[in-house]
Each structure stands twice: as structure tokens, then as C-alpha cells.
């Protein structure tokens, strides 16, 4: 008798049922039935494909979420200066309510994860998600190639700040953001997997500067009277207040910190430039949009 409730087909149970059928067919009277076993192998293949796709999708979602949350957390760590709150009180137009902050991160998170609790910065690379499958098996799967190349090889912990060099190249780079024309100096490390390079470099760029920023920030916090927030609205507010709050800021360092996030994650070019034009007039909503675009570009690429 058929079950009254036709439950959702579980790929994994189908795989085990199919394997059992193949095994039982060996002892059936009359010999192995080629036709039946061929059909069972098709079910096996279909179930395996669904199972793999589900796993890949889950891994991808986790990857994406962790990367975004990593950077968002780092952004949030930049914020807690009192001047930010003053600026927030003055304007509310740019992004509506405060609940949207960190709207940058929120806007980019996959919808399914928006309700998830915010995770703090992972000590390891966002790409080093536990892979439940054997790497060889993953490699055999025809698609998506992104996952195969990412997951098929062992993940070195990829942040030069957090771990000793592990076949990884760390160097100091002075970069020019082509979107904002801001020159920054970053420490970056990158992995030897090409496909993840840009994403992971984002992680690296996000993480290492975060660490660096933390240190710098701590150093400068007493001197800085207003600090730009990395949410679009706060950045806009900063723009409005930048003229009002003119203090001898260490513009070069602040521009570094901001521009790192403002810069695109690809196509960074190393060049020395005049850092003094960093702040005044430079920080506007365009930069926020540029960074937003950069994030979107990075994510859409995959």
C-alpha cells in the first residue's frame, strides 16, 4: 500500500534505496536484470545530482553569508565613536531609519540570511567552509565549477594577520581606487586558488585592514572628533558635517581606512598619489554607491 502522505523525496534516502536494489539484484533468480539496473542507476544519478546541488547551494550560501558578515562586522567595529551619533541626529534623509544600518551589509545579504544572527568575524577565511563531501567526489561533479575549484583543494587559512604564512604571499600594496581615485595602502594576502582569488582577496582586504584599522583606530580615536561611518547614510552625513567639523584629522590614515572599503575588489592599481586630497569633498554618497557596486559586482561575479 502506498503511504497516504507522499512525503518530500529525500535524495539521500533514494540513493540508499537504489543501492539496496542494485545489491539485491545480484542474488535474484534469473541473473542480474540489465534493464532494471539501468533504470535504478538513473534514479541514483538523479538523486546524487540533487544531493550535490543542495550541498553546493548550502556551501555557497554559507560562504556568501560569512563573507558579507565578516566585512559587515568589521565595518561595524569602525563605528563606535560618539561623533557618529551627533552626525546621525542631524540628517536622516539619506537612508531613512537607523534600523537600516548596517544597511550596506543588509542590502547585500541573501534574503534568507537576513534574519540570521550576525556572526562575528571568523578567524579563518570565509571560504574555508567545512566541506562534507570528499574532495575527489566534489571534483567529479560537472558543475558548478566554481565550487569544484574552490573546494577541491585544501584551504589554507588565508589571512596573513591571523595565521602564519601558509603558502601565501603577504605584501604591502599601495592602491588607487579607480572609482574614487583614492590612494590607499593595504596589506593583502591572497590564496593560490584563482577562482576564489577575488572573493578571498576581498576577505583578505577586508580582514587585514580591519585588523590594521583596529590598531590604527585605537591609536587615533582620541584625536579624531568625527569619524566617517561606513553605512551610506552615515557617510552622507559625514559629507554634510565634514565642513562643519573641521579638525586636524589624520586625513591620510582615515582615507586609507575608508578607501579600502570604498575601493573595488578587483582592478586595484598600485600608485602613489597625494593623500591630502583624501577627505574634503571626497566622501560623498557616490563613494558609498561605488563600494556598494563593488560588493555587488564581486558577488554577482559568482
Amino acid at each position: 500500500m502506498i503511504n497516504t502522505m507522499e512525503c518530500a523525496v529525500d535524495a539521500q534516502s533514494l540513493i540508499s534505496i537504489s543501492l539496496r536494489k542494485i545489491h539485491n539484484s545480484r542474488t535474484q533468480r534469473g541473473g542480474i536484470k540489465l534493464h532494471k539496473n539501468l533504470l535504478v542507476s538513473y534514479v541514483l544519478r538523479n538523486a546524487r545530482q540533487v544531493y550535490m546541488n543542495e550541498k553546493y547551494a548550502e556551501i555557497y550560501r554559507m560562504q556568501q553569508y560569512e563573507e558579507v558578515m565578516t566585512v559587515c562586522n568589521e565595518i561595524q567595529e569602525l563605528n563606535p565613536l560618539d561623533l557618529v551619533e551627533d552626525c546621525e541626529e542631524q540628517t536622516v534623509d539619506c537612508c531613512g531609519s537607523m534600523n537600516e544600518s548596517p544597511s550596506l551589509c543588509g542590502a547585500l545579504l541573501p534574503v534568507s540570511h537576513q534574519a540570521s544572527p550576525v556572526q562575528h568575524i571568523q578567524p579563518t577565511s570565509a571560504c574555508s567552509v567545512p566541506i562534507p563531501l570528499q574532495s575527489e567526489e566534489v571534483c567529479k561533479s560537472p558543475d558548478p565549477s566554481f565550487y569544484r575549484s574552490c573546494c577541491a583543494e585544501a584551504y589554507p587559512v588565508s589571512n596573513c594577520d591571523f595565521s602564519p604564512v601558509n603558502s601565501m604571499h603577504c605584501n604591502k600594496t599601495t592602491v588607487l581606487d579607480l572609482d574614487t581615485h583614492v590612494v590607499t595602502t593595504v596589506e593583502s594576502g591572497y590564496l593560490h586558488q584563482d577562482c576564489c582569488a577575488s572573493l578571498q582577496q576581498c576577505c583578505q582586504d577586508a580582514q587585514s585592514p580591519a585588523k590594521k584599522r583596529k590598531l590604527d583606530f585605537g591609536y587615533y580615536v582620541s584625536e579624531i572628533e568625527e569619524v566617517p561611518d561606513f553605512t551610506p547614510c552615515k557617510r552622507a552625513k559625514f559629507e554634510d558635517s565634514s565642513y562643519a567639523c573641521t579638525e586636524p584629522l589624520d586625513t591620510s590614515n582615515i582615507s586609507n581606512l575608508i578607501s579600502i572599503f570604498g575601493s573595488g575588489f578587483t582592478g586595484l592599481v598600485s600608485r602613489q598619489a597625494d593623500l591630502e586630497q583624501a577627505l574634503n569633498g571626497q566622501f560623498c554618497s557616490k563613494q558609498a554607491l561605488a563600494s556598494l557596486g563593488a560588493w555587488t559586482r564581486a558577488i554577482v561575479a559568482f
Binding site: I2, N3, I17, N46
Partner: protein, 448 residues
Amino acid sequence: MAGAGGGGNDVQWCFSQVKGAIDDDVAEADIISTVEFNHSGELLATGDKGGRVVIFQQETENKSQPQCRSEYNVYSTFQSHEPEFDYLKSLEIEEKINKIRWLPQKNAAQFLLSTNDKTIKLWKISERDKRPEGYNLKEEDGRYRDATTITTLRVPVFRPMDLMVEASPRRVFANAHTYHINSISVNSDNETYLSADDLRINLWHQEITDRSFNIVDIKPANMEELTEVITAAEFHPHQCNTFVYSSSKGTIRLCDMRASALCDKHSKLFEEPEDPSNRSFFSEIISSISDVKFSHNGRYMMTRDYLSVKIWDLNMENRPVETYQVHEYLRSKLCSLYENDCIFDKFECCWNGNDSVVMTGSYNNFFRMLDRTQRRDVTLEASRESCKSRQVLKPRRVCAGGKRKKDEISVDSLDFNKKILHTAWHPQDNIIAVATTNNLYIFQEKVN
């Protein structure tokens, strides 16, 4: 009982007979595995899992009593195949009769081909109603007489005796198939026939047993690349050079033996694109064709897959001209049917005499009549409850979901152990033979 026009809803079907044991406890050997009328419809042959063939003969109609319909009574029973063991491969070969095909009658005797997984046999079924008597050297009981006691000579004469039907194997066609034979089909040239297994089709001459010609071979060089197998094959009813074979992928290939000796390259490929919205884990299984039958007029062919029956015009390859859903309500149950192996059941189908109605089986001892001309269908049941003589069969309905109406049966109440895989339709009259697990039901058209 003449005329086979309109077997669907115009015809009311009545119970006629049921053959087989009444017990619910079914012996595996008694499970019917094939049913076939001969060309005149006078004889009806069944094969079972125990390797036996039972032939029923229609009694001559009693013209004086028009209400009395002719019945089918046992004519001959014989053991066609025995279980064998392939010592080389350490495989047991089942004695189950996969197919029976009658040869057109040439003389007083009847001939049929029966096959199991590996061996085809040609049987001669002949009647003996006279026996010689009056031998000089033998007594009547067969004992030899003492020659010294013989004083006179006489000529033996034939005297009538009780009818005796004898079945004798005339030819054994063996060792030609590596894989399991699924089909045999007699050619219209009355000299040759084909046999098909999972990967190959062989052409035989009816008289020659020590060789056959391989005409189709779809075995790949590397078996790991195997993607489909042959599931059924049949010769065209009139064109002796044409045959078709169906595959597990839902395609049918028509081949012309005049084109080349090896018909790997088809002349026509009949295939309907899969509906992507119906894609599931089991798409490959339910699209596998379990039976293919030419219409009597040779213009169409019918295929049966797990959920539907399709009628194809031989002149149109890209889609069937008609599609009938047999039991669409099972589509949502495929997972359970896969678990209990029912999804692998191979249902057969058949045409009526004038190709206006087709019939196929389903579960719960239901069978379906699909009227092509009126585009109507009816579901009937072969059950012991409707076994009263001349009782008209009531149409059955399956409730797929929602509120079950009176007289409907819900999908979850269907008995999937009671399946009708084999059916046959008399070549001229509205008489059908429907095989349940171990019983053979014969239904006839109601005569007013």
C-alpha cells in the same frame, strides 16, 4: 458475435469465465506471464512463471441457442520450459514464459513459439482423434505378441478415440542471446521471426535452429557507456522487411531490413520530447516503453510506458497522434512505487480487431479501455465479486484527491499487488482475456 466495432463505451462487457485457482494464496509458478489469442481467435494460450503453457479452445457456437455464448475450455497443457543452469556464468535461467506467439495455421496442426529468458521453442499442437487398431505383432495394450502364436494377418485400421491433444517441441532455438529475451515476433513472410533481448535483435528462420542473424546490436564498446536497452520489438503486420523496437529511453526505432544487413541505423525514430515540468527523479523509469504493438492495419503503432498509452502514426516521428493517461493519479506516488518496485512493472497493451479501441492494464485488477474514435475511456475491474455469469461490468473510478464520491476508490486504497500486466483481444470479436496474478478472466460483449 460478429463485429468488433466500438469496443469502448458502446459495448457493455460481461463476465464470461475465470480460469485458475480460487485461493488467495498464489503459488509463484502459477503467476500468468503472457496471454495470446491465435489468428482465428479459436485458441487462447497462456504462459506462466512455472514454464507451463495452457491453451484454451473456444467451443463451437451453438446456433440453436443464441444466448449461449461460446466458452473457452482447456485444450492442452504442457511444460514448455524447465529451469536451467548456466554453468559457465553460474546463472540460473528462469523457466518463466516471457512471450507466446502463434504461427499462422498452415495445416491441421497449430504451431506456436514460446520463449523464456534464453531459449525459444517451436511447439506443434496437434489433435489425435483416431488410433490404429488391429496390429499383428502387438496387443491392444502394446505388449508384443509371441510371433509363434500368430496364425492370421490383418490390416490395422483407424478407429475413433477420445480426442487427445498433443504438444511436441519441433524446434529449439538456443544459445543466441546473451541477455534476457523480452520479445519474439513472427514475420508476415511466414518463414522468419525475430527475437529481441536487452541489447540485440536476432532474425531466425523457423526451420533452422543452429544459426540466426543479428540485425540490431546496441551494445556499446564499453558497457559503462550503456544508456539504453531494447524493451520490445515487433515485425510490421504486412511489410516483411519492416520492424520496430522500443527502448528504455522512450524512443521507438523503425528499421528496414532492405537498407542494410545490420539495422543499427534506424529508418525512422519516433520520440516525443519530455515535458520539463514533469521532470522528477523517476523520469527515466516512467518514460521507458514496456510494450509496442502495431495496429492490425499497419498504419499505427501503440506504445505503453508506465503512466500512458501513445498511438503513433508511422508517418509522423516527432510526436504521437494520441496520448491516453492510464493512471495519472500515480504520478505523485512514484517514490513509493519505486520503493516497492511497482514502478518497474511492464504493462502490455493491445488493439481490438478494427483498431478502434485499445486496452491496457493497471493496478487493483483494473484495466482500461480507451476508445479512439469516441475519445472516451472506461475503467473496469477483473474481480471475483463480479463473477456472476453475464454480469455486466460496472465502470470504476479512482479518486485522486479531495472528497471521495460514492463508488469511487481512493488512490491510497488501491492494491498494488493486484496488477493486470497482460491482456489480449480476440482478433475479430469483442472477447477479451485479462490476466490477473494467477487467474485468467474472459469477458465478452453483452448480447441482448
